[in-house]
Amino acid sequence: MVFSSAIFVFGFLPLLLGLYFLAAPKCRNYILLAFSLVFYGWGGPAYLILMVAVVMGDYVFALLISMTERERLRKLWVVLAVLGNLGCLGYYKYTNFLVENINGIFGTSIQVAKILLPIGISFFTFQAMSYVIDVYRRDVAVQKNPFYVMLYVALFPQLVAGPIVRYKTVEEEIISRKIRVDDVADGLERFIIGFGKKIIIANNTGAMADLIFAMPAVDAPLAWAGAIAYTLQIYFDFSAYSDMAIGLGRIFGFHFDENFNFPYVSRSVGDFWRRWHISLTTWFRDYVYIPLGGNRKGQPRMYFNMFVIWALTGIWHGAEWNFILWGLYYFIFQGAEKLFLGRILERIPRLFQHAYTLLVVTFGWVIFRCDDGLGHLARYGKAMFSFQARDRSMEILSGYLAKYGIYLVLGIILSIPIYRHVKGFLAGRLEHPAARTLAAGCGYLALLAVFYVSVLYLVNSTYNPFIYFRF
């Protein structure tokens, strides 16, 4: 099921809200779990069993780890748990890719049936794995109630496209949480913002990007327009999902960590990755980079560790060469920033820092997008930097801008933290309680209007899943 679908907003959500808030507190977790399983199973009931099996496997391993003080045995259980999760992820996500490449390189003809990717497998395996590792590290106490572990992983807001929530973040809230109208209202506000971002901006900039990336031949103006449209689409698509997930979590009493922090205002690639998909970056930092030695074992080792992290980040996104290339592309830039580029960037005006970052990130998204073969990427990249325009491309572009220009502009404006600034500004200026209430009332009316307009867009649109569903 997709957050931005009519059945979710007008069917699943009101039913869940009604049952959840009317039920006795002790029943609420079970209601949430049942609805979360329905939510996941709606898109493919067959994979529900897989997801439950993965989580229950991790639950058992965590229990086994907690039952012994023998370090070697604890290590054995955690290694088995990690191998189990990675094996599952590897089988479903990378088998076809591996076989295709073996056949391509060695000329063999190994036949493997097309393995369909279970929705959200990269997210739920990482989340489940982190729980076992945290128990092993004694960062969290083991959870003996299997339903609670299941709820932690399967909680529908973050199940299929993150953010990757750590058990520590929700440990206490799973056991006991209070319902506050503040949380519900703030959660709804966040949900509506995400809903609007996805339906109004991401879907429309995405439509423009789709048109241009599908063209067999593009020139510089169209290629750049497509790249910019996709840059906006992926941010508004993914951050919208995170907004909706965080908002929905808040409605039900959970406080998830932020996953985005206005990444397009970054002033370096390093800065960008501290603001983009924060839950994945911190996951790799805590569970791979630091255990490998991080930057504590000298520079060569640090660069090697960075290389590993970026290769993993790339391949985590998908079993295609372009994703690996995309990861390594960021390794090069972040490595260069650590070596010398960072010092240069510090000395140049901020405008150039932003320009440099946006250029790197935008081209990065082109690598990310061209997942139908490196030939497409080569053609597209060449067109971007050819600085050549065909006769009709400006005509075609002006047509697309007439249709989608408004969403590009809206996207660019909302990529900067303007909403946060306005809210902060008003909170600071309005001291009289009546004025604050009035401003809040206007704000809520505006949010309801945004929601209604988004519904109008939703009714006029076709099925449009989130980009990160496929990861």
């Binding site: 009101p14 898109g43 031949a217 249709k403 209430t437 009714v459």
Partner: protein, 393 residues
């Protein structure tokens, strides 16, 4: 502040719950704005809850049956066109003087475009040879898209599609065999530069050629017929009573009628009553109604067979017979042809699933003329449409 927050939450929850409940109660069959059948909720079947297809049906029905769907679509279009001033909404472009157009067709692979035109010409040649062998003349009429013929009112951003059209016609002409008589309707439908919006030969908010435009096509067709049948009757505009009304055109329908339209000639009636027997159904060939399909032939049907007669029963054997294959583009042309031919059989292969090709019909019915119109509204041409309207798909 807390009351404010509670009110906000209550408004939101009440709204989604209300829409949800009224959606589940929804039983709408048809979306007039989108012109399509809406998905219905399947019957409750617990045994199928694990079946993805069944769950998808529920999802699709929920989307299609959403409460106030048509009103929401109209509101969306109204907001886009009249509030945000968008000139390209969905698949419709809003031109000057309230002329509406299909969204531009962007041709990005010119070589593939050329190859496709040649493929089209080849199948036309092949089937035309069969038709000619059966003793009929094969006339292929190509209608340009509205944006090609009515290009003075295009919105500023719109791609000038005349070049693409000209290229298509030039390749097509050079690849058609002698069996095919080709009429490029562009030359007929294009009005002189500076003509007003009301002088155009397409409806302002629809992709169809209007009655005046179809009359010109019909007369061109009849000039070919007169080469072999000099005594055949050719109608003139003056033979008709013409009534103006606001046309419920497909473009405006897609916009939820967000653009107000002026009155245009839609309903026509011959001044002298025509004697004909319609074999396929009892619908009048010149009908009433505010859209093109109802005004001419009563709609798009798989088969339309009309026999003209002097006394309403017997055909006039001195007149030729015509067979027309096309889509709704042909409706008003068919109606006009009834007045000049002994029999008129038209086939719309979008609905005709008989499995018979044009050549099969011709071999059996032995018409004198076969008129082939493979056009569609969203592209200059497509191989699929060429195949379809020859009965090959």
């Amino acid at each position: 502040m807390r009351y404010m927050k509670s009110a906000f939450v209550a408004c939101f929850v009440c709204f989604i719950a209300f829409v949800g409940l009224s959606t589940i109660a929804g039983r709408n069959d048809w979306s007039p704005t989108e012109g399509r059948t809406l998905n219905q909720f399947p019957g409750l079947a617990y045994s199928r809850l694990g079946d993805v297809a069944y769950l998808n049906k529920i999802t699709n029905a929920f989307s299609d049956q959403i409460s106030g769907r048509e009103r929401k679509i109209a509101l969306y279009n109204d907001m886009m066109v009249n509030v945000l001033g968008q000139k390209w909404v969905g698949s419709v472009a809003v031109g000057k003087e309230k002329q509406l157009y299909q969204e531009p067709e962007v041709i990005t692979d010119e070589k593939a475009y050329e190859r496709e035109v040649i493929r089209c010409a080849e199948i036309v040649n092949r089937e035309a040879a069969k038709v000619v062998k059966s003793g009929a003349r094969f006339i292929y009429i190509n209608y340009p898209r509205k944006d090609v013929a009515v290009n003075e009112f295009l919105p500023d951003f719109y791609l000038d599609s005349r070049k693409d059209y000209e290229k298509y016609i030039s390749i097509m002409k050079s690849h058609l065999s002698e069996d095919v008589t080709f009429i490029d309707a562009y030359d007929i439908l294009k009005t002189p530069k500076g003509s007003s919006a009301s002088e155009q030969r397409y409806y302002s908010n629809d992709h169809h050629v209007n009655f005046q435009g179809q009359m010109l096509i019909y007369q061109k067709l009849m000039s070919l017929v007169q080469e072999e049948f000099p005594d055949v009757r050719v109608c003139q505009l003056s033979d008709f009573h013409m009534e103006e009304s606001v046309v419920n055109g497909s473009f405006n329908r897609r916009l939820g009628y967000a653009v107000s339209s002026r009155e245009e000639v839609l309903q026509v009636q011959p001044k002298e009553p025509w004697n004909y027997v319609r074999k396929d159904r009892k619908t009048a060939i010149f009908g009433r109604g505010k859209d093109y399909a109802r005004a001419f032939m009563g709609g798009d049907f798989a088969n339309t067979v009309v026999v003209a007669s002097k006394d309403g029963k017997k055909g006039n054997s001195a007149l030729p017979k015509i067979f027309i294959s096309g889509s709704s583009y042909t409706n008003s042309l068919e109606a006009l042809c009834v007045g000049s031919f002994r029999s008129m059989h038209s086939v719309d292969y979008r609905s005709n699933k008989s499995g018979k090709t044009v050549a099969d019909y011709v071999e059996k019915e032995k018409p004198d003329y076969v008129v082939y119109i493979p056009n569609q509204s969203d592209r200059h041409f497509s191989y699929e449409m060429f195949q379809l309207h020859l009965g090959l798909k």
